[in-house]
């Protein structure tokens, strides 16, 4: 590749230092109209930006160039969630330009201001409003310039398709490009700009095709591993057989004898490199290494007891009323312990990085959700200044939270590039991906609850271990409610887990909703009340009632207490500001324990919907992906040894498992756009557990709900209580 860098628009840029102050950005950009804005809600931006040498008062900007092109610069990245389309729609709407005239420069620490990363279904929610404000601000600048140029007051002007014209005479016109050409106007968006109201939207709210689709269907879309540099080496790295293992001895002499092989043994890393990745792999196989492997302290069966034993004192997340009072008011009491094993992200693109060290600058292309934190980590690992590291993020082949970690592969590539003096690509094998992934932590939830004689929930005593409390918030009207979180996610200690853990699409929410909605279902069945009716009887939350009613209407829910033998289920939840309710129909084979999902229907209130097609795509992806965590995906391990190494044992959803899917977007245009990338995933485990219960009377307490666990639950249900 000739160009020393590129962006998602496929254009090249000259390389430069990494930490850029405002004047550097402006110089780098040349002329035009530039609006700086801040998309971050927290104080974090100011602090982190300062320590990183980036501007503290903005973290994204928009520029209109002399050729009329509009470019949005942001540290966010595109990993399939579709922001190259939805963010462009927002800017196009406010500016009055066609979608085609907008480019995105994403995830490049050399061209974009600081951004913490892309996760948490936050891009549209938190990036959207200031982006629209910045676009509106830019349009105001353009209108003022046009007013001078056309000799007409601003009020008499309109802007459409990148042209400002007199409302009374469309022939009196000037293009955005002509207005921006030769200018050097920099504005900072302060507070809220006046943006369009929903009634005036023309681009937002319209179903748009993915703007990255053409590149992706032709094979031209470049992912990190697709970038090739002259003289580049592919690296394979010696891995221990288990986490916690110590290298006793290593002999690389046989590998080093092979032609073209470069061996690096430095700082605990043993790597074998070659211009041909397969030759590198073959040479690595010749490396003789001995490790001390500590005895396994726990495994995938005993981990749940372990987590509870080390979780320490919990934190109260919600408290209302008094549990003893709730117990007294209860006609029936229920206890449930719900479990979920470790989960892998298993993105189709493994962690990949390409590093080049040239003229004192380390440039690293990386598949990451967090380019700026990676930049920092690389600088630290190499002991060089952050300004000397530039991280560029091409298209990312799936993230799901798994590429928001420490940037290990990027650090490895950078170290090896420095050691060899040649560009180095590190692309983890699938087995390395399963070994080094930051798994969704295994977790336990214990619930003690009660209902009164009228079927009202009057007690809720909820304890979650290792998952954190996301989506455990109480939306049922429970007078005596206590929610406690132990060893919350993100604050775990080494003794809690034997390997890396991290966010996995809607971190913690999937197990929390599985536990809550399973428990609710158990109580509804005991009260002999239809599970939908039971939920509606117990919540006055209007948004929740609306999605429950919407999903029931679409599904054609017929009233009946469970277990009805029909195999239908309902579950609901709140995540990332979005309300979602699911209904499912599933067939359970009592002989084999296998579950076939026939139909999944979701109703979602996500506030105003920017791109309905994109939103449905995310919902469908959530539902289908959810089948995996609910039914089949499980990381097996014994101590630090990861037994799950590939897709033969880590079973992702497949075409044969496709249920009929239906999605309903519940209109709530008055509310600003809420999260869309995760919410519909969150109740999938629960809705299937509830459908299985409805079919068989057997309650499943552990995900994934494998055939073996279904058979065990069926056997337990048959035993007299």
């Amino acid at each position: 590749m000739e160009d020393d860098s590129f962006d998602l628009a496929g254009r090249s840029h000259r390389s430069g230092g990494s930490s850029l102050l405002r004047r550097d950005f402006i110089r780098l950009l040349g002329g035009g109209i530039i609006v700086l804005f801040n998309t971050d809600l927290s104080e974090l931006l100011g602090q982190e930006s300062r320590t990183r040498g980036y501007p503290t008062d903005f973290n994204a900007f928009l520029r209109i160039a002399g050729d009329g092109r509009v470019t949005i610069y942001s540290g966010k990245i595109e990993m399939g969630q579709g922001i190259v389309t939805s963010l462009a729609q927002m800017a196009a709407e406010e500016l009055g330009v066609s979608l085609d005239s907008i480019d995105m420069v994403l995830g490049d620490t050399g061209l974009c201001p600081f951004d913490a990363g892309t996760y948490g279904s936050m891009s549209t929610r938190f990036f959207g409003p200031p982006l629209r404000g910045a676009a509106a601000e830019a349009k105001a600048v353009l209108l003022t310039l046009a007013s001078e140029r056309l000799g007409a007051p601003v009020e008499s002007l309109r802007a459409e398709e990148g042209v400002v014209f007199l409302a009374s005479d469309r022939t009196k016109r000037v293009t955005f490009g002509a207005l921006a050409n030769g200018q050097k106007i920099v504005r900072k968006l302060e507070g809220k700009a006046v943006t369009k109201s929903v009634a005036d939207f023309r681009v937002m709210g319209r179903a748009e095709k993915r703007r990255d689709a053409r590149a992706k269907v032709t094979g031209k879309a470049q992912f990190t591993g697709d970038i090739r540099l002259p003289g580049m080496l592919y690296a394979t790295i010696l891995r221990p057989p288990a986490h916690g293992a110590a290298l006793k001895s290593v002999d690389t002499s046989a590998a080093a004898k092979l032609p073209g092989v470069v061996v690096v043994h430095e700082g605990g890393m043993v790597a074998v490199l070659h211009e041909d990745p397969e030759a590198a792999g073959k040479a690595l196989a010749l490396v003789k290494a001995e490790f001390d492997v500590p005895p396994p302290p726990f495994d995938d069966r005993t981990v749940f007891a372990h987590l509870q034993s080390v979780a320490g004192t919990g934190e109260e997340r919600e408290k209302k009323g008094d549990l003893a009072e709730g117990e007294k008011a209860s006609a029936s009491l229920f206890t449930g312990e719900y479990r979920n094993g470790y989960g892998a992200h298993a993105a189709m693109e493994t962690h990949t990085a390409l590093a080049r060290f040239e003229d004192g600058t380390m440039t690293v292309w990386a598949s990451t959700q967090t380019p700026f934190p990676n930049q920092q980590a690389i600088a630290q690992a190499l002991g060089i200044a952050r300004e000397s590291v530039r991280v560029i993020t091409p298209f990312v082949g799936g993230g799901f939270g798994g590429k928001s970690g420490g940037g290990l592969q990027a650090i490895e590539a950078a170290k090896l590039a420095k050691a060899t003096g040649r560009p180095v690509q590190v692309s983890w094998s699938r087995a390395e991906e399963f070994f080094l992934d930051s798994f969704r932590p295994a977790a336990v939830v214990k619930v003690r609850s009660g209902i009164d004689g009228g079927g009202k929930v009057c007690l809720w005593d909820y304890q979650v271990y290792a998952a954190g409390s996301r989506s455990s918030e109480q939306f049922y009207d429970v007078p005596h409610n206590l929610i406690r979180s132990y060893g919350r996610w993100g604050a775990d200690t080494p003794k809690m887990h034997l390997f890396a853990t991290g966010p996995w699409r809607a971190p913690g929410a999937n197990i929390n909703v599985f536990a809550r909605e399973s428990q609710i279902d158990t109580m509804a069945a005991k009260a002999r009340i239809d599970p939908l009716e039971f939920r509606l009887n117990n919540t006055s939350d209007r948004r929740m009632r609306a999605v429950l009613e919407a999903v029931a209407a679409k599904f054609g829910w017929k009233k009946g207490a469970g277990p009805s033998g029909r195999g239908v289920g309902v579950a609901c939840g709140i995540d990332a500001g979005t309300y979602v309710a699911l209904m499912a129909e599933a067939k359970t084979d009592a002989a084999t324990g296998s579950v076939k999902v026939i139909r999944l229907v979701a109703a979602q209130d996500m506030g105003f919907v920017v791109n309905p097609d994109g939103a449905r795509m995310q919902m469908e992806g959530c539902l289908m992906m959810g089948l995996g965590y609910a039914l089949s995906e499980e990381v097996r391990f014994s101590g630090g040894r990861i037994l799950t190494k590939s897709f033969d044992t880590y079973e992702l959803p497949r075409f044969s498992g496709m249920p009929a899917l239906e999605t309903v977007l519940v209109k709530n245009d008055e509310l600003a756009p809420q999260g869309g990338g995760e919410p519909a995933l969150v109740p999938v485990g629960a809705v299937l557990a509830n459908a299985i219960f409805d079919a068989t009377g057997a309650r499943l307490f552990e995900m994934p709900i494998t055939a073996g666990r279904v058979k065990e639950a069926l056997a337990a249900a048959r035993k007299p209580a």
Binding site: G80, F223, A347, P653, M658
Partner: protein, 157 residues
């Protein structure tokens, strides 16, 4: 050991001096610079590396390049003709049969072979034929819809 390997690639004859035990996947991605074909697992389990040899969809990650000697190999780069997308490519883009896009070339090539053999497949035949191609973004429904749509347009031609 390097030896000469000749085959047809995307309609054009090609001759390489390579170690013929190397896999087609990495010969495509390195020697030939065709990076549309992806590494996903290296064990024929995910389908990201799918190319078409003759009329068969094959997993290039386990296929020694010598096996395609004298054969016709089609990769994702070979489907677009004179700047015009293949009906399958059009359909994947139009229906949104992709998200992150990493599995997409393999999906399209597997579907291409499917339609070569069975130009008008039923929905069930499409599901069965695509079973071993994995999509982590879980765009399965739109992928099936895209293949159905393409089969109506052109029967895979």
């Amino acid at each position: 050991m390097k030896e000469s390997v000749s085959f047809r690639l995307n309609g054009k004859p090609i001759r390489l001096e390579v170690d013929s035990d190397r896999t087609l996947l990495w010969v495509l991605r390195t020697e030939l610079g065709l990076t549309g074909t992806k590494y996903g697992c290296g064990e024929s389990l995910c389908g990201a590396c799918t190319v078409v040899v003759g009329k068969e969809a094959v997993r290039s990650c386990r296929l020694p390049v010598k096996v395609v000697r004298g054969k016709e190999v089609t990769t994702i780069e070979g489907l677009e003709k004179d700047g015009k997308l293949h009906p399958l490519q059009e359909a994947f883009a139009d229906t949104g049969g992709l998200q992150c896009g990493f599995c997409t070339p393999g999906m399209i090539m597997n579907a291409y072979a499917l339609l070569l053999k069975n130009p008008k497949p039923t929905r069930g035949q499409i599901q069965a034929g695509m079973e071993d191609n994995l999509c982590r973004c879980a765009a399965h429904h739109r992928i099936v819809e895209a293949i159905e749509r393409a089969s109506h347009v052109a029967g895979g031609k």
